[in-house]
Amino acid sequence: MNTLLEVKDLRVKYGNIEALHGVSFNVNEGEIVTLIGANGAGKTTTLLSISRLPPPEAPKVIEGDITWKGNSILDMPPHKVISDLHLALVPEGRHIFGNLTVEENLKIATYARKDSIKDIHGDYDRVFTLFPRLAERKKQRSESLSGGEQQMLAVGRAIMSKCNFIMLDEPSMGLAPLLMYDMFRTLKQLNKEGLSILLIEQNAHLALKFAHRGYVLDTGEIVASGSSADLMDNPEVKKAYLGG
């Protein structure tokens, strides 16, 4: 299997505060990998570093390397990460464009795509079948959507960007159970079609059930890793993250 993304000894800082103290992990092509950890462990920080977003919102890498198929991407501007590597991020806190309509939000996600209008339309259909609610709200300004609907839109945007690697930061937040399961099933389906996924999820149980492999992050360091099944059996992980 090809290693797509590899993070090596990553240390990052917000201003003067170090948030990650040497994090290493990798994601292979076609894999679903999850990062679990307590609130504030540095999961979001890791994803933001990979996306190469500039400060102040995102942290500054002070040491270590992030490589994509073996090449360092530390000097890559963030938009290139999407347009050239096809690596998308569904950020924590949704970050939808509230002043655009639902439809425009989906459309803006295709900014970097170069394929035909027809393909793009096919993806609209995919999003709308997964989230029928969005189809009903197509022309609505998206800031007036309910919390869950906004979350659907954020995930929908990632699908529209047609990337072959998606990083999801708590995608299930605020989603009703029915929809949450639907979403995970769709993602699984996409994975089968070749999509690689890096997932962060508060519900460790669900995350491990969904992923092939996992890493446990604690205060900026990886403390355990392994296949999902191994992690689920690990007594420490069980105690700390799976609620006993």
């Binding site: 970050h95 002043n99 459309k107 960007s161």
Partner: protein, 302 residues
């Protein structure tokens, strides 16, 4: 009746200038939520650039005035755009990068405006410049109504610029990106959009339009002085807000509205009360529509 038509034409021309400048304000605001208080002065610089370009060509070669005009229009727009982009690069962008509160950028813009004004004064002296005639004036008269060809050109230019900008902002992908930036700068790169290029593009458009406005203004009111952009800049900003800042239609309509109100008040009331009345009317409009004519109230979703 004649008076009415004449005043209508006056208002259209004067409103055109407000609209042209307000469009630049709104464009930048629509993207960065930055009240670019230097915009009025960029307009002034545009007029000066037009002056230098035109006199250069007139002096150097024996060009016909209309040829000079044809050369001056694109050159002025380009050079003025350069000024706007430079400001963005050296003054606004570093602040943005440091995550400064947006009002600090606004104050920086204000300072940049002052530098442009007074730098011009210090370098070129206080003498006013007279803009050369590039267009043979034709006065069309019907009864008591008179209108010059220049007036018609100005009005036409404002409408064209509006249509172009409206198309760019609402119909194109880059326009969509521009609107997105104002709401959430953070997520823009995540859509694969080069944020800095979009911002630079915005400044190119906005300042280019200011350059065009400066040129047309200099042709219509051919006296250039360093402070010529200050007052009209403030008023155009007001027009943009009344129209609903961030909205292209709003700036266009707001500009003409302000033109009509100012001309209307002078025509109907004692002219000494012009500012008092004009601003009262604007306040009334904002009272009825607190977010301007085209402005959409931000729904706070809780």
């Amino acid at each position: 009746m004649d008076i009415l038509i004449q005043n209508l034409l006056n208002a259209l021309q004067w409103g055109s200038f407000y609209a042209l400048i307000a469009l630049g304000y709104t464009l930048v605001y629509g993207v960065l939520l930055l009240i670019n208080f230097a915009h009025g002065d960029i307009f002034m610089v545009g007029a000066y650039i037009a002056f230098f370009v035109a006199t250069f060509f007139l002096g150097l070669f024996d060009f016909a005035p209309w040829m000079v005009l044809a050369l001056t229009v694109p050159l002025t727009m380009l050079l003025t755009a350069g000024v706007g982009v430079t400001l963005e690069r050296i003054a606004y962008r570093p602040l943005r990068r440091k995550g400064a509160h947006r009002l600090y950028v606004v104050i920086t813009a204000l300072m940049c405006g002052l530098i442009l004004e007074n730098g011009n004064l210090a370098l070129l002296g206080a003498s006013r410049k007279k803009f050369p005639e590039l267009l043979d004036k034709v006065v069309y008269t019907w009864g008591n109504v008179s209108v010059t060809n220049l007036k018609l050109i100005v009005i036409l230019a404002a409408i064209t610029v509006f249509l172009i900008l409206q198309f760019i902002v609402t119909r194109t992908r880059i326009g969509m990106a521009m609107r997105g930036i104002s709401y959430d700068k953070f997520a823009i790169p995540l859509m694969g959009i080069p944020i800095d290029s979009v911002i630079v593009f915005t400044f190119v458009l906005g300042s280019g339009m200011a350059g065009l406005a400066g040129l047309l203004f200099a042709m219509s009111y051919p006296i250039l002085e360093p402070y010529m952009g200050a007052l009209i800049g403030w008023k155009a900003f007001i027009a943009a807000v009344v129209g609903g800042i961030g909205d292209i239609r709003g700036a266009f309509l707001g500009g003409f509205l302000l033109g009509f109100i100012e001309v209307g008040v002078v025509a109907m009331f004692p002219s000494t009360y012009r500012d008092l009345f004009a601003f009262s009317i604007l306040l009334m409009i904002l009272w009825i529509k607190p977010t301007g004519i085209f402005g959409v109230a931000k729904t706070t979703k809780i």
